[in-house]
């Protein structure tokens, strides 16, 4: 279905009807009372194509499933059902050497600069390990490659023999990028790569990512909650709500003319730097429903100002509207397309 936008190209990653459910542990009293296990639905049927060499932004609020999606793609979580295809081949059940082969192509970068590096290993140890385990280089080539990688992410000379705690947050994220690049991947999954950094440092890391992507021809999944950054770096953007994509489309089109009421509210709520655009009323009332109990029909209907009876009954499918795809029964009227 999603192919309709990119009929010409075949997607690098094709995600189909992906579900991820976590069962919560039952307490003893729950078991005795015969209460059913509570199930957290983190992903609720995600359909998404990632095109080669594009940056696909994935935005949503906390608990919407965007990180779970990133971790499923990187192979850290095994989805409950559905499929992820990389260059046409399913990657969900890969084991051993084939799993390693896939992860060599698809690497991940993490949010927390303080826990994503092993504190007892120098930068050189960290990079050497990745290079040697995958036999990317031999002998003296290994250390040459370490220097090359550090150069690539603009870390100063002498950084190689320092430990993570000797670096600032921004520098640590660069080390994380270098580690991911050490396997010479095709695709990078960046899970909130800059959100833990100071604003003045975020731009450095974002610039680096943009440059690396262009020079190395990488495909990037940029998972973030900061709409300004997502808009800036992404070719296309997917908006995710309660574990499902509600809208996906070219970045500029989506941001200048969002079709789904949730995308509209998200954009309106995001703090803008324009003091004249002040509002007195909040952009969206109510709160995110619990992922333990996802509303029937359209998951957004409980907060949606346009909700009609149909929205309570029937879950809208992701369908072409305007420049992209939207999962809303009334996208044409609401988005004005």
């Amino acid at each position: 279905m999603s192919q309709s936008i990119h009929q010409a190209a075949t997607p690098l990653l094709a995600i189909r009807d992906l579900f991820m459910r976590f069962e919560k542990r039952r307490s003893l009293s729950d078991t005795l009372a015969g209460r059913p296990r509570q199930v957290v639905s983190a992903l609720n049927g995600v359909d998404l194509d990632v095109m080669p060499a594009e940056t696909l932004g994935i935005v949503g609020e906390s608990g919407c499933g965007k990180s779970t999606l990133a971790r499923c793609i990187a192979g850290l979580n095994r989805p409950t059902s559905g499929d992820i295809r990389f260059e046409g081949e399913s990657v969900i059940d890969l084991k051993g050497a084939r799993r390693r082969g896939y992860n060599k192509r698809v690497q991940m970068m993490f949010q927390d600069p303080y826990t994503s590096l092993n504190p007892r290993m120098t930068v050189r140890d960290t990079l050497r390990e990745a290079i040697t385990v995958h036999r990317m280089r031999e002998g003296a080539g290994i250390d040459r490659r370490v220097d090359e990688l550090l150069d690539l992410v603009r870390l100063p000379d002498g950084a190689a023999d320092k430990y993570p705690h000797e670096f600032s947050g921004g520098q640590r994220q660069r080390i994380g990028i270098a580690r991911a690049l050490s396997l010479e991947p095709t695709c990078l999954v960046a899970d909130e790569l800059v959100s833990a950094l100071d604003v003045s440092v975020q731009a450095q890391v974002v610039n680096l990512l943009l440059e690396l992507q262009d020079s190395l021809g990488l495909t990037v999944l940029f998972v973030a909650h900061d709409l300004r950054l997502v808009r800036h770096v992404s070719h296309r953007v997917a908006v995710i709500y309660l574990g499902a994509i509600v809208e996906v489309g070219p970045s500029e089109a989506l941001f200048s003319r969002p079709m789904h009421p949730y995308s509209q509210a998200l954009l309106a709520a995001a703090p803008s730097l324009d003091p004249t655009a002040r509002r007195r009323a909040p952009a969206l009332s109510g709160e995110l429903p619990s992922p333990l109990d996802i509303p029937p029909g359209c998951p957004f209907h409980v907060r949606c100002p346009h909700a009609a009876e149909r929205c309570r009954q029937e879950k809208p499918a992701l369908r072409p509207v305007g420049h992209g795809m939207t999962a809303c029964h009334f996208a044409e009227t609401i988005g004005g397309a």
């Binding site: 850290l76 504190p119 120098t122 250390d143």
Partner: protein
């Protein structure tokens, strides 16, 4: 080439810095001095003990501390100082052998169940519950009673119970470390589980285990001496502190030094382990963010 050499030298300088920091702490210095002396006594009792610990001297029975016998003599005229010194060999061995196998087994088991979780973890949890419901000493005594007294059997008995404590500690530490993103990064980088557990998680989880090991060695000496006292550990006439105290128990009023001197040795050695353990706990704490 120089770049290749840089890494080890930098590591060496960090080790030096660590040692420097350790020795700037009085508690570590005192503890280290006590342990160094204890180890020296355990290794070379023949050089340091003034008399043969087993030689009877019936002309000097139960003499109080004097210049000739600083710790006095026992009811067979044996020199108590020499017996306490020779006992270092047995007791320091006890500290090591009663704990090291528990440490190795416990850390390995704890690391695996902590990393994999699931059914193995549940079964492990039940085992732990079963073992720790019994008082430690009672369980050890029961096992020794079945195996028969003696040092080796005592090691087996203590290890059989003690590994659980190491495993429990390791499991908790590994589970905490596992939630860090560097573990996830290792998986995405395609590293094997063994590599992630032993090269990444364990080095970050090991500090509290080492600290616990230090205090546990002190406890092992106490436990070993208790068993020696009860006649279940080291066997007389071998010099062992618990055995020595037991030998003196009938003469507490007339020849108090027979029990007191080995008692002081126990306390002092225990203190040494505790001080070093405490200092290490502070020193090994990872530096702030």
């Amino acid at each position: 080439m120089s770049i290749v050499l840089q890494s080890p030298s930098r590591k060496a300088s960090r080790v030096n810095a660590f040692i420097g920091r350790a020795f700037s702490r009085p508690s570590f210095v005192i503890g280290f001095a006590i342990l160094a002396l204890s180890i020296a006594l355990a290794l070379f009792p023949q050089l340091l003990a003034p008399y043969d610990p087993l030689a009877f001297d019936l002309s000097a029975i139960q003499q109080g501390p004097s210049l000739a016998h600083p710790f006095g003599t026992d009811n067979f005229g044996r020199d108590v100082l020499s017996r306490v010194i020779w006992a270092y060999r047995v007791d320091m061995q006890m500290a090591f052998f009663a704990t090291i196998f528990a440490l190795l087994i416990g850390v390995t088991v704890g690391a695996f169940v902590g990393y994999y979780g699931g059914i193995a973890d549940t079964i492990f949890g039940r085992c732990v519950d079963a073992i720790i419901t019994f008082p430690f000493l009672v369980l050890v005594i029961a096992i020794v009673a079945v195996l028969g007294p003696g040092l080796i059997n005592m090691y087996v008995a203590i290890t059989a119970v003690n590994w659980v404590y190491y495993a429990r500690l390791t499991r908790a530490e590994i589970m905490a470390q596992k939630s860090n993103d560097y573990a996830a990064a290792g998986r995405v980088l395609g590293y094997s589980d063994r590599r992630i557990i032993f090269r990444h998680l364990l080095p970050n989880a090991i500090s509290p285990i080492i600290v616990y090991w230090m205090t546990d060695m002190a406890l092992a000496i106490l436990l070993g001496s208790s068993l020696g006292y009860l006649g279940l550990g080291a066997q007389p006439p071998a010099a062992e502190w618990g055995v020595l105290i037991a030998e003196g128990r009938n003469f507490l009023l007339t020849a108090w030094w027979m029990s007191l001197m080995p008692g002081i040795a126990i306390v002092l050695t225990g203190l040494g382990f505790s001080l070093v353990g405490d200092a290490l706990a502070d020193l090994l704490r990872p530096k702030g963010r």
